[in-house]
């Protein structure tokens, strides 16, 4: 059994209106040294795979096909073995 923790972020150069709004809010709270904010997504998958390579291959495939949109987003993930 594995657990995949997937992080989806906007590509550099793609404007992030949500991040910009959060940054404005942080600045107004007095956190003036925040130079930039980017908001992304965090997705956790519990996998029934017993083989790490197979799990990794499939998670990558799932990211490319559905979980991230390659036009605007990047992704990375961590794979951790967990007891069932």
């Amino acid at each position: 059994m594995f657990q995949a923790r997937i992080f989806v972020t906007l590509k550099d150069g793609v404007l992030d209106p949500q991040g910009a709004a959060v940054k404005t809010a942080l600045t107004s709270l007095g956190y003036e040294r925040v130079a930039d904010v980017r908001v992304g997504k965090y997705i956790v998958l519990s996998l029934g795979h017993s083989n790490r390579e197979e799990a990794e291959k499939e998670v990558r495939e799932m990211c490319e096909r559905l979980l991230a949109n390659p036009v605007i987003e990047n992704y990375f993930f961590e794979l951790q073995e967990v007891s069932s």
């Binding site: 404007l15 209106p17 949500q18 559905l66 979980l67 949109n69 036009v71 605007i72």
Partner: protein
């Protein structure tokens, strides 16, 4: 001419589209449930507005894997007309039938208002009875209509004349102030290279009748009919 309107869980403009085709145009139309895989007999497929699958993950991201979408891709590849309105446009982008992606509006607000649009080209099956450069008014209602494409893809769209509608002022000027959502190059609607697939964020079905106070959207549907009649004329009589 036979129209099909795809219904996804969460579509909410399907009935408006049906009404326009049936009552305003007087043409045969049926709903197509998103689980169906056969589009035989249809001449034009409409992906209506709404919030398919609650906009979960990204707008259109999950609807794009509905069984019907494979059939829509095949239908488009054979030259069939596909019109995606609002959420339908988002689904076409996610499905890769049109280039680019939608982002959250740059104002972070859901925008529900009338906008002015410049018809950039009338050389499409969807705009042939508008004048090129004509300024029209249509309602928008979306939170994620901020069109994005990488610079190279954007340049290609412009070069091929695939930008069909652009947000503009009532006088037809394409300005930042007239852009309701931050879209690249004020883009409100684009078509594919073959020009048989159109996606647009504004709602032509909400402005196709006198009673609604605006009929600017009716011409989009009439363009489709006029194109189709031209095609039939070519097929039957060999005229062009």
């Amino acid at each position: 001419m036979r129209f099909g309107i795809v219904v996804f869980p969460g579509s909410n403009c399907d009935m408006d589209c049906y009404h326009v085709i049936d009552q305003v145009l007087g043409h045969p139309v049926s709903y197509i449930w998103h689980q169906e895989k056969d589009l035989t007999g249809f001449d034009c497929i409409i992906l209506p507005g709404g919030f398919s699958y609650g906009d979960y993950l990204r707008s259109g991201a999950i609807a794009r894997f509905s069984p019907v979408m494979e059939a829509v891709a095949e239908f488009a590849a054979k030259g069939g007309l596909v019109l995606g309105i609002c959420n339908g446009f988002q689904i076409l982008l996610e499905a890769g039938l049109l280039p680019g992606a939608m982002m959250r509006n740059n104002c972070l607000q859901f925008r529900c208002q009338d906008v002015y649009l410049k018809v950039e080209t009338n050389e499409t099956p969807f705009t042939n009875i508008y004048r090129a450069g004509e300024v029209i008014r249509m309602p928008i209602a979306h939170g994620e209509g901020n069109y994005y494409a990488a610079p190279e893809a954007l340049a290609e769209l412009e070069e091929n004349g695939q930008v069909v509608f652009r947000y503009c002022t009532p006088g037809g000027e394409v300005t930042t102030e007239a852009n309701p959502n931050g879209s690249c190059n004020n883009i409100a609607g684009i078509c594919n290279k073959e020009r048989n697939v159109l996606g647009l964020m504004p709602h032509p079905e909400r402005c196709a009748e006198e009673i609604l106070g605006n009929t600017d959207g009716k011409k989009l549907f009439l363009s489709i009919l006029s194109w189709w009649e031209g095609q039939r004329c070519e097929e039957v009589l060999g005229c062009g």
